[in-house]
Amino acid sequence: MSDAQAIVGALRSYGPSVDEWRLLASLFDLRLPRAEDWDLGDYLLEQIQELATIWPYFDVDSYLAKVDPTGRNELANLDDIGEAVIDWVRHGAQEGLSPSPLFCEAWYFATHRKSERLKSSKEAYGHYLERGRNSMLASHPNLSPEITRDLLQFAKGARELKPLPQTCVLAKDGRETSRRPPSGLAGKIHDELTSATCVFNPGAPPATSVDLRILIQGLGDYYERTDTTVSMEELAILSRFFDVDVFYGCTRFEEHLVSRVRAIGEFLSWRIQASGIGPLYLFEESTVSAADAVLNWLRGDWARMPLAVERFPAERYAAINPDAASHSGGPFRHFIEHGQFEDRNYGNDFDNSFYRGRYKMSAHSVSPFQDFLKRLGSGPTRLPSTFSVSLALDASLHGTVVEPRSRLWECSTGYSAVIDALTSPWFAADLAAVSPLEPQLVAGSGSLRLAADREASPFSEWGAWARDAFATVNPDLVVLVPYLTPGSAEELAALVSSAATNRGYKPLVLVTDRDLCDPGVPFQGIDVLNLGGCAELIDRETALLDILRWSGVQRFLNINSKVAWQCFAKYGARLGRDVILSAYLFCWELETGNARGVQGHALDYLRESIPHLAAVLTDNTAFARELTAFIGVEEFAAKIQPVHSPLTGELGPVAIGPGRSRRRVFWVARNTAQKRFDRVVKLANSRFDWDFHCWTDIDSEQMNSLPGNVIVHKPVSSLSDIPWHEASLFLSTSDYEGLPVAMIELAHAGVPIVATCVGGVGDLIDERTGCLLDPATSESVWAAEIDEAFRDVEMVKRRAQAAHEKVRTLCDPTLFETKIVDLLFADLETENR
């Protein structure tokens, strides 16, 4: 609950009198409505409600410090601001107490007693509210009238803003120290308020607190007009780049401007042609309010910026760029509309091509100049150019005069000292002493530049980000996955992570290829980091390389990440010396179309990578054999290890019922070429006495062409959503498979399985545990084989039982865990033993 809400709540239950309402209106500087149409209480409550920030109109601590506790029984409750306000209305106001830290009753009375004819200090605060503040009478020994007024005005204008920190400190300190001059931080801020150089114009001579006052006042105006907020960073930008003095100088409207900040509004409403003699602004919509314009500028309307950074060198720009000279809007407009995107430089202050190169900006639709300005005040400042260093060094080398530092350089950090050092006498003296030994040192007139040939790449940010995140998790193993959607790679990543966790190791899943993280993919208790936000693939590769090299993690397992495969293939030789790289490969992918060759990561990267990998895992022995044959190098064959996926127990046991007159064949798969739904249809066409229930996704055209004994259901997210107890058998018709998790689960549940003998299926299904179909034979042959296999219910039950027992052995979760840990943490496991 905000202070305002607390006050409103308390006032509603208290019910002030009309006089008390007037006091409140005076206290909070609220406007009173016209007498004839007011409901004073509700009206004022509404206004108070809007005052999210109540202080410094009412400050509980300050008020309590002034209250005489004698005769006040309810003081204990006064730390509630609502109660405190009511107490002030009932008692404090009559006693002449100000609840504001900005007002000192005794001092006000003593100072203005004679001039204002005050009779007692009890009249002081009322006098100030009614007359004193309008007459700019000082309210506090430590505060000028202007500052007090500005603080009040600012707090009112800020509305939803928190007060500026320095005003808080100042006010609090003023309250606590009472008559003493502020000290410490408050004193420093006070000094800044009263004697600092102008906030607006860093180059201007020292100004007075008037600048700050006007700034605050002006911002208050903006808040009121736009009902929005301006951050301190934006304020910093504003103060750097809006040069009021320069504006005055070229507009000559100074005498007509109410205040310097108002100048911004005036400035923005004027269209000033690019003449090269002053700040230039191309704002055209004069109907847009000044406040909107300022905010637009701050928020990204950079093409129309009021450039006071440095006077635009229109003549020089036009001389270098002839097309700018003939541009209808003049040179500056040419720069704004074209030049900055074409890496034509804005004077000596900013080097577009340098900036674009150094900070790896590739898209020419983005202006380096705009990027630089946007970053000011919101993070580490980037170097705008090396011109200043070059000029300084040239000056030392050739004895010429050094140009003063530019404002852009003032804004950037770290290198101003370079110029100071270069322009100091020692360097010139040393050059004079050394150059006779090597005349080339001072030969030629080419400018010196700041060496940046091995500058930090933007990828370093990712590396630092990742390592910092890694430092929090401190993982023993990083599992690299391309993205996170429901699928086999994600399931396996979760299983491997769980296995590592169960054995006391800390895994972390790193998404590498795409910025795609389905929150539905469960990684309970596993930390997941997303690297997929890098814009370009090459960025992601370099970022991952950064992590592989420098994260300090020693084990990485790649599960289907293309970016990781690229890194392994290119840099494996060197990476393998410091980190343990492993990979998990699923089955080949089959190319679609007539050319039915294989493709996939194994084909693309395994041969190059395997010398540097510690282990290559697969989920079935058949694929492991194929990979071994593919590699063709015996010494690496031992690295390829089948690790069968573990049972999850997703399905409960399914009771096999008596034989049915119509056999029910269940088929569950994605409708891809590899899964061969077409063979299901052909089988259905050959056996109209069977029903084929298929859970897959097909289009309406395909649906209309299906025989009547094929019933298509919507795909399900879980096997348990399918009524397996109604099934006669599960059929798999794929051209290629690993060892599908679905088949493992169904075998464990006791569902009879008929499958084409491809890939890793043979690890589980044979004539003892199910019915294997030759993918090369016709559907009618399949039908006969299925008939033969299912003619005897008892035989079916025996096979199902055998499959159940086999899968329990083959896919034992404990075995999986042991194998994974033995392979991925071999070094640590050996140490532990």
């Binding site: 270069l422 050394v434 400018s447 500058e455 910092d468 309970q524 420098w550």
Partner: protein, 261 residues
């Protein structure tokens, strides 16, 4: 006789380009001796060509000249260290120059700060018409703005360091193997020594003039081959970051939003 500073000048195939470097050493030794320092000079001729060998032999009156067949700059520096007797060692490559009073200033900095590895404030690169002259600024590892994170990407200090001889003995330069993809022996050395707690500081008002020879120089070839800084650094670096603390590490803005789980 105790020696304060051993100068190790590494010559390879610089030929006439070594003459300014030799003069720079002579200039510096003279200045250092005027400051009361005792200086010895060691010239290492590593598989030098005839011209360079002749230059080296001409120095035998004022320097100890050692022949090496290492064909490796790091190994040649190690050899120079082995031969040196000075409390401190200062390296110069055969075509570069020091500022006129490098030895005296570096010695003063090392002794006064009680830090053991000193670098110049500036390096002015010259001699390559294609790239022109440029300047590289060294930053002290004690500078609050120094970010060790950058050492992953930038070699923060050049190889022409000035340090306590025992450090060079404890941390000999590793070999460069460009064919295997490993390079930057000086970068490797900088990280290893920093990791071991030896601060790299900058001597104020000092400059080295480093000749750039384009793609045919060792550094040129190293960069051209996409070579990595030598191995065994990742673990060293991990512990280095912990030494400096996470506050030195930059965050990627907004990256936390990507975090799941």
């Amino acid at each position: 006789m105790s020696v304060d500073v051993s100068v190790v000048l590494n010559l390879h195939r610089e030929g006439a380009l070594s003459i300014p470097s030799i003069r720079s050493v002579q200039q510096n030794i003279h200045a250092a001796q005027c400051s009361g320092l005792k200086v010895e000079w060691i010239v290492v001729l590593d598989t030098a060509d005839k011209e360079t060998e002749a230059v080296g032999e001409s120095l035998e009156a004022e320097a100890r000249v050692i022949a090496s067949s290492a064909r490796d700059l790091g190994a040649a520096r190690n050899l120079g260290v082995t031969a040196s007797k000075g409390t401190f060692v200062s390296f110069l490559d055969g075509d570069d120059l020091w500022c006129s009073d490098w030895l005296a200033k570096a010695y003063k900095t090392a002794v006064e700060s009680d830090q053991s590895i000193v670098h110049p404030l500036f390096n002015v690169f010259f001699g390559d018409a294609a790239t022109g002259k440029s300047i590289f600024v060294h930053q002290s590892s004690l500078d609050p703005r120094f970010n060790p994170d950058l050492l992953r990407f930038i070699n923060a200090w050049t190889s022409l360091s000035f340090a306590d001889r025992r450090i060079y003995e404890s941390f000999p330069y590793c070999a460069v193997d460009l064919n295997a993809g490993w390079g930057f022996e000086d970068w490797n050395w900088n990280v290893r020594t920093l990791n071991a707690g030896h601060e790299h500081i900058v001597s104020p008002f000092t400059v080295h003039y480093v000749r750039k020879k384009g793609a045919h120089s060792l550094s040129g070839m190293t960069i051209a081959r996409d070579t990595w800084v030598s191995p065994d650094l990742s673990f060293a670096y991990s512990s280095m970051t912990s030494r400096f603390g996470s506050s030195q590490i930059r965050f990627r803005p907004g990256a936390g939003e990507n975090r799941l789980g």
